[in-house]
């Protein structure tokens, strides 16, 4: 079987603020035999606009998405939120398209399409995992991320209390209702700290930016690391802490 042609939909947030996550997805998928491309015409899925009430702008970005990602076997996003926007919202904005139908969140792609849970990763740290709302409730990824993490060599996985509660990010919610968002964040951080984990992981850099921004403000020492970076880390090329 020839290697599948996979387009990386990095998402604007990861492309701009967390390039290490993008590199991790490329290295992980290539290690698993995929032919990875990054179409340079991609920008944003339109979620920022859609969720704030600017549907016409969102519609135009959704149309661009269908064009940019046309012609690949699969499109993979390291984000449940942007993946959810594409799969669940784009069809309502401008109809469905092959690009939309072939879009997967990373853990879905690994487990459902490639059929792997042990990706040969090595990550010798105590890790807890926050299942982000849109991964959980829009896409229904279930325990796929956890099954991937359980197979990582050296990784000690600790359960996050009240894991399914929102961290309070919610895009512009974090600015429009900053105080309520912060109250939600405070409770999430308390749960993270109760685990004594060194690393908090998730499948979405947006939520990690929020929780990580709080954890760093309080000098908790807990690092936030995207699931892709943990899965890309190997004994030969272990993950190196970049500042987040």
């Amino acid at each position: 079987m020839s290697s599948p042609r996979v387009a990386l939909f990095a998402t604007c947030l990861t492309d701009t603020l967390y390039p290490e996550t993008g590199k991790a997805v490329v290295s992980l998928l290539e290690r698993l035999g995929c032919d990875v491309d990054f179409p340079l015409a991609q920008t944003c899925c339109g979620q920022l606009h859609y969720n704030t009430g600017y549907q016409e702008h969102a519609r135009s970005l959704a149309r661009d998405y269908a064009t940019v990602f046309d012609g690949y076997d699969y499109v993979v996003a390291p984000s449940g939120s942007c993946g959810g926007m594409v799969r669940e919202i784009h069809p309502g904005l401008c109809g469905t398209s092959p690009a939309v139908e072939r879009t997967y969140e990373l853990s879905e792609f690994l487990v459902d399409v490639l059929g792997v849970t042990d990706v040969g990763a090595y990550f010798p740290h105590r890790v807890t995992y926050h299942p982000t709302c849109h991964s959980l409730r829009m896409l229904g990824v279930g325990d796929k991320p956890l099954s991937l993490l359980r197979a990582v060599k050296g990784l000690e996985l600790v359960e996050l209390p009240q894991a399914e509660q929102c961290c309070g990010f919610g895009g512009t919610f974090a600015l429009k209702n900053a105080e309520t968002s912060t109250a939600m964040l405070a409770d999430k951080m308390r749960c993270v700290q109760d685990t004594s984990a060194q690393v908090l992981s998730a499948g979405d850099n947006s939520c990690l930016m929020h929780i990580g921004g709080g954890l760093s403000r309080l000098r908790t020492g807990v690092r936030t690391v995207h699931l892709a970076e943990i899965l890309a880390s190997t004994e030969e090329e272990p993950w190196a802490a970049a500042t987040r």
Binding site: H49, G168, L185, S216
Partner: protein
Amino acid sequence: MGGRNPVTWLGSPAFPKAAHEALADTQLRRNLRKATTTIRTKRAGVVAELDDWERLRRAGEAIKDDVLANLDTYLVRLEEAVTARGGVVHWARDAEEANRIVLDLVRTEGADEVVKVKSMATAEIGLNEALEAGGVHAVETDLAELIVQLGDDRPSHILVPAIHRNRAEIRDVFRRGMAEEPASDEPRDLAEAARRHLRRKFLSAKVAISGANFAVADTGSIVVVESEGNGRMCLTLPETLITVMGIEKLVPSWQDLEVFLQLLPRSSTAERMNPYTSVWSGVTPADGPRKFHLVLLDNGRTATLADQVGRQALRCIRCSACLNVCPVYERTGGQAYGSVYPGPIGAILAPQLAGDLHDEQAASLPYASSLCGACYEVCPVRINIPEVLTHLRAEAVQAKGKRTPEALAMAAAAWVFADPKRYEAAQKAGSLSQLLARDGRIKRLPGPGAKWTDSRDAPAVPKESFRAWWRKNRVQRP
């Protein structure tokens, strides 16, 4: 017509400001956390017992959608059935009309005091205030509603309106509002005081006012579900019963109740079966009230029905499961929503019933959500609350026009995203934020970004974006 729709409380601030007050109330925070955590765990337990829960939800959704699509037919059928069984049906376009109808009926009976079963519809139209203005005192008989009423307070939860009060506060409220004060703040003594207070009211009242959970179009039967039995006292003892019901509360047939009487108790009180389910059809000689009036209330419902996305809010059966799982509600409580309908359902129902997204308070409600989707997951009639929230946000944006700072920023962002070259240039410009950063983190952002950095560090834009790295390392040059 005319006058303000009282579904949102006059003078309530927009959600962020109201939340600011609520978040500082430590008693409220503690009560809410305890209550919502307990009830959502119990709910999950009783829902998991049924292996056909998803099918029940879909059945509930389908029945309600059929009712909404054929409301005209079912309402006329209901009117015929109620009339045939000796009841009188009244139609009310809005709050003012409904309140006038009820006040006239009470006056005709010569009563200056009425007893009430807990009812969302009458709270929505501000009936108690309207009756008071007309010289009629309405006594709430649901224990929690009584606490709210005697404390001159506002409800904060659909099902547990006094969730924000502790027992010491309740004793104080009772001391001030009752002839006999409670012996202590023990729950038993508080309940006993309320029982004695209410018993006198039940036995002397000539008129009772109720809401309705369901109405069966085929038989004209009205259904009220409650937990205390106080409702049944109201529904059976007085000579005249007046029921105020939103026009969307219909189900077509008796058989349809089977679905909702399973969905409702498990979703609301986490009970398998509801303690007191009262059903009556018109009047029955020598049994219960001798006169029955049904007031069918529109009050913004027809306008809501006209909205293809927003109309699903009318499926709501007022179970409050969405409140109990909502992370926003859990922290701010119900009063922050400034309406009788709090929480996620309130955030989509109140602005639609009020019908004016130019109003700052109403327009703030659809934004009182992180769109986490927990509400949709538990809704027994599958109302896609996040979908309606974003839909109403779009309407709020339209109402504000294109010249707000936010609209201009969004248009600018869309212009940047529309062209990868502009987008890449913006990334490069953004990396100047490194100047604000230490160790890649920014402690204080200027302008609206300060709302972020007040409580969280922000990442600086790295010098090399992912696409810059890709272009450098992966794009093959000929």
